[in-house]
């Protein structure tokens, strides 16, 4: 498991930050903003590029306290530290629970 920077991972996979908030396929990309909007994601997060067709991207907040995020794409996995992203996700969850 490589510990790489978030920027490097995103460059490698060709996706922007907001995409990894939702596990889905490229074919479903059009539904991502709507679904995300329903839980209150801001517009900046929704500015994303679609992942490769048929490719799933899964995000696992493996350590919420320290902001560690595991992202899985294809057969690959990277772990990086992004407390800000984790905080935003937590805010989204809290809003959705209201």
């Amino acid at each position: 498991m490589d510990a790489v920077s978030r920027r490097r991972f995103l460059a490698t996979t060709g996706v922007a930050a907001g995409t990894v908030l939702v596990a889905g396929r490229a074919a479903d990309a059009a539904s991502v903003p709507a679904a995300a909007s329903s839980v209150g994601l801001d517009e900046a997060v929704l500015q994303h590029q679609a992942p490769t067709a048929g490719e799933h991207i899964m995000l696992f907040v493996s350590d919420p306290v320290h902001g560690d995020v595991t992202v899985m794409s294809g057969a690959h996995e990277v772990v990086y530290n992004d407390p800000m992203l984790v905080a935003r996700i937590q805010r989204v969850i809290r809003r959705a629970q209201v």
Partner: protein, 456 residues
């Protein structure tokens, strides 16, 4: 069972649950080794309409360590793809399947076999077809012929089969999990009943087999075919693993999305290690771990819980075993390092000091073709378990007797095994129900769904 449903986690994931591993010098082709890994425990032959199959989302491996470090040096990998010819039918087959290419075979599995050795990954075969399950006389009228069509000889000489077989393992599950009862001696049990004959609980159960027959020279560390039993290059260690994607999301429409690297969910080398020797709280960890981490098993093997239970459950039957408190170096050798030279005349399968649960096979020992003994080395047959394992080997009796003290005398001449040790057995010698074949893939024709009548 040997390793059927042996851990809490994998018992809920049967397609990834390895049941047994076999490794032996092929009796009819002594220049080759046969490797068999069985999965999907306790298949009910009548289990339609969705009959048993391998998991498309499972990566199956047969691993070979030829350097004794607990890491694989040769890996054979099976990856399956299911193809449904007519998704609008609920039927597994839309008519008699008289050929594995028959259009009536509605739900088919194909696989790719890949070999990794010396850092090189080679696809040995792709679009290899598995046979259907044995359904009944109308659907699979000549099952042996169908299965035979699914034995593939590949360009490099490897022979491979992946499909349903009759479970070659035999054991009396009903008694042994009833407080270690052994029917032939249950009159001696703490809660006694009249002695009786053993019952093979798996006599009508099928499994799914991954079977390979490969030249010995493909497996040894130096590419040779060893002929000297004492030589270090003569022993290989074998185990199977099943892996799943790390990430899984179940969508509301019933679809399943998977992503990430493969992680190990099942492992099996020697029979009964995870089942009987590893405690409940560590079984799932065992399945996720590599053999190279097995040093932590040393105490479980060195002080087996079952060796303490036997004198309690069979009062006054095992006094010498009850008094034996030393580390069971005999069991550690058999299961974790291999048996060193000079312990058993003419035999060794030691791979060094690294403790790792691998099924160790000394390939320099020729196969026993004339009356092989199901008790393996305990029965004087050096070609049987724990020198590798053949389908007919009575590994439950062998390991139970070893745990009961039969093999401790090999390393401590002052120890006298209890008189009852030879009777420690479920009493389920292979009785013909397992119907072994004389040739590859050796495991018998699976029971057909139509033919099996449930027992009361």
């Amino acid at each position: 069972m040997s390793s059927h449903r042996e851990a809490p986690g994998i018992s809920k994931d049967p397609v990834a649950d390895s049941t047994d591993v076999y490794a032996f010098v092929s009796p009819d082709k002594p220049d080759t080794v046969t490797l068999i890994a069985n999965y999907n425990p306790g298949e009910d032959p009548a289990g339609g309409p969705n009959f048993y199959e391998f998991g498309d989302d499972v990566l199956y491996r047969i691993n070979i360590d030829n350097t004794g470090d607990g890491n694989p040096d040769v890996v054979y990998e099976f990856k399956f793809t299911t193809v449904v010819a007519d998704g609008n039918s609920f039927l597994y087959n839309t008519g008699p399947i008289t050929d594995i290419a028959s259009p009536t075979f509605n739900r088919r599995q194909y696989y790719t076999l890949t070999k990794t050795a010396k850092g090189r990954r080679t696809v040995l075969g792709s679009n290899l077809m598995s046979p259907p399950c044995n359904i009944g006389p109308r659907s699979t009228p000549d099952y042996p012929s169908l299965a035979g069509q699914a034995v593939h000889t590949l360009n490099d000489g490897t022979v491979v089969f992946a499909g349903q077989r009759l479970d070659p393992f035999f054991v009396d599950l009903g008694s042994i999990f009833d407080l270690a009862d052994l029917r032939p001696v249950q009159n001696l049990h703490l809660i006694p009943t009249a002695a009786g004959a053993g019952v093979d609980s798996l006599r009508a159960s099928n499994v799914h087999s991954l079977a390979l027959q490969v030249p010995i020279t493909d497996l040894t560390r130096d590419g040779s075919k060893p002929t000297v039993v004492a030589a270090a290059n003569s022993t290989i260690g074998v185990w199977t693993t099943a892996l799943r994607r790390k990430g899984t999301v179940r969508a509301a429409d019933g679809s399943i999305h998977q992503s990430g690297p493969y992680v190990q969910v099942s492992r099996l080398g020697n029979p009964l290690v995870n089942e009987v020797l590893v405690p409940m709280g560590k079984k799932d960890l065992f399945n996720a771990s590599p053999p190279s981490s097995d040093k932590r098993l040393a105490d479980y093997v060195g002080h087996p819980e079952l060796a303490k239970l036997l004198p309690v459950l069979y009062p006054n039957v095992f006094p010498n075993l009850a008094a034996l408190t030393a580390v069971r170096a005999d069991l550690q050798a058999i299961l974790l390092t291999g048996v060193p030279a000079d312990i058993i005349p003419g035999f060794q399968n030691n791979t060094g000091k690294t403790m790792c649960d691998e099924l160790r096979l000394n390939v320099a020992i020729p196969p026993t073709t004339d009356s092989p003994n199901a008790m393996g080395i305990l029965g004087g047959d050096l070609a049987g378990f724990p020198n590798g394992r053949r389908p007919m080997d009575d590994v439950v009796s062998i390991e139970l007797q070893a745990i009961a003290g039969a093999t401790y005398a090999l390393i401590d001449k002052t120890f006298k095994p209890d008189a009852a040790v030879a009777k420690v057995s479920p009493g389920v010698a292979s009785d013909g129900n397992t119907s072994y074949l004389a040739t590859f893939p050796y495991c018998g024709v699976p029971k057909g769904g139509y033919d099996v009548v449930p027992r009361s």
